[in-house]
């Protein structure tokens, strides 16, 4: 199915959020996630099913003021 990852249309074979992260190479990375603007804690990624068109955000620590 096609979903949005960080604003970019992306084709994925995964159905759950944790599998999407694995597929994209974020398996062991320090990231935080949101789906359709709602925060999804790391502990709930395995129970979060995605639907076509869902907007997934994957963020990491960055410089800030």
């Amino acid at each position: 199915m096609k979903i949005m990852i960080n604003g970019t249309p992306t084709e994925t074979r995964a159905e759950m959020l944790d599998a999407v992260l694995e597929e994209l190479g974020f398996g062991d990375a320090k990231v935080a996630t949101a789906v359709n603007e709602d925060f999804v804690p790391a502990s709930l990624r395995g129970q979060t099913a995605l639907a076509p068109g869902d907007r997934v955000e994957i963020v990491t620590p960055r410089q800030g003021g």
């Binding site: 190479g25 320090k30 925060f39 620590p61 410089q63």
Partner: protein
């Protein structure tokens, strides 16, 4: 200085953005002796690993981290960003920015109060980026904020304290509330002035990061913050219009 039951040794807080290199950032932090560093969360591509590199860098600074919601224009964006930051940085602290105006980056006061209330109810310890408005300050305190971060001037301008009357009034209205002048400072003298006025700390980023020699400027600000705080604690003299001789008049030669 005590912020949300945490003792912080330094009254200078420093941002981590816009430095010419990671090495310069590290040296600027060392010479600033800042106790708190602001950080953000941003999107990352899978193979980039920029986040991991930055995470290693800021952990080695040995300072307390204050994540922000910079760039958020809605309550929902700000709340979700704060939730992601809490998980990433493992801290309940959040510098809450809800921006209401593109050119001035002025906070949206209505969204700010709403987001502050939501986040406080979720257990966050909110540092709201606000203006010098005393009514807004009161609402933020009612919403559960225990620290306020009024701007000196719009972010990144380096204009210093553009509304001294407003800042003085804000400081006087809530004498027990820790307040950090956040944003708009360009020179150490402006930081010293904020500290002389009784603000508890200052937060800078651009003034240091965009200086020709960031590390030297960081030390300049550190000394100014110390000088301003010492002056505030020393209870400054009252200014007066007429001259008053400082050297004793009694005992002068030739006095008839």
């Amino acid at each position: 200085m005590r912020l949300y039951e945490t003792d912080i040794a330094s009254r200078l807080m420093l941002g981590t953005a816009q430095y010419p290199s990671p090495a310069v950032l590290t040296e600027a932090f060392r010479r600033s002796a800042a106790g708190i560093a602001t950080v953000s969360v941003r999107r990352e591509a899978g193979n980039e690993r920029a986040g991991a590199a930055f995470w290693g860098l800021v952990r080695d600074l040995g300072v307390t981290l204050l994540p922000n919601t910079a760039g958020c224009h809605s309550v929902r964006e700000a709340v979700t960003t704060a939730q992601m930051a809490r998980e990433l940085f493992d801290t309940p602290w959040i510098k809450l920015e809800v921006i209401g105006h593109a050119d001035t980056l002025q906070p949206d006061p209505f969204g700010l109060v709403e987001a502050a209330r939501i986040l406080t109810n979720e257990g966050f310890q909110v540092f709201p980026y606000t203006t010098e408005d005393v009514v807004l300050a009161g609402r933020l305190l009612d919403a559960g904020c225990e620290v306020l971060m009024p701007w000196g001037a719009p972010i990144g301008t380096g204009l210093g304290l553009t509304n001294i009357y407003g800042l003085r009034t804000l400081r006087a209205q809530f004498p027990q509330v820790p307040m950090v002048v956040d944003a708009g400072l360009g020179l150490p003298s402006q930081a010293a002035m904020a500290m002389e006025m009784g603000f508890d700390a200052v937060l800078l980023n651009t003034a240091v990061a965009k200086a020709g020699d960031p590390a030297r400027m960081a030390e300049g600000f550190a000394r100014a913050v110390q000088a301003g705080r010492l002056a505030f604690e020393a209870d400054p003299m009252e200014p007066r219009d007429m001259a008053a001789p400082s050297t004793p008049v009694i005992g002068m030669a030739f006095l008839e």
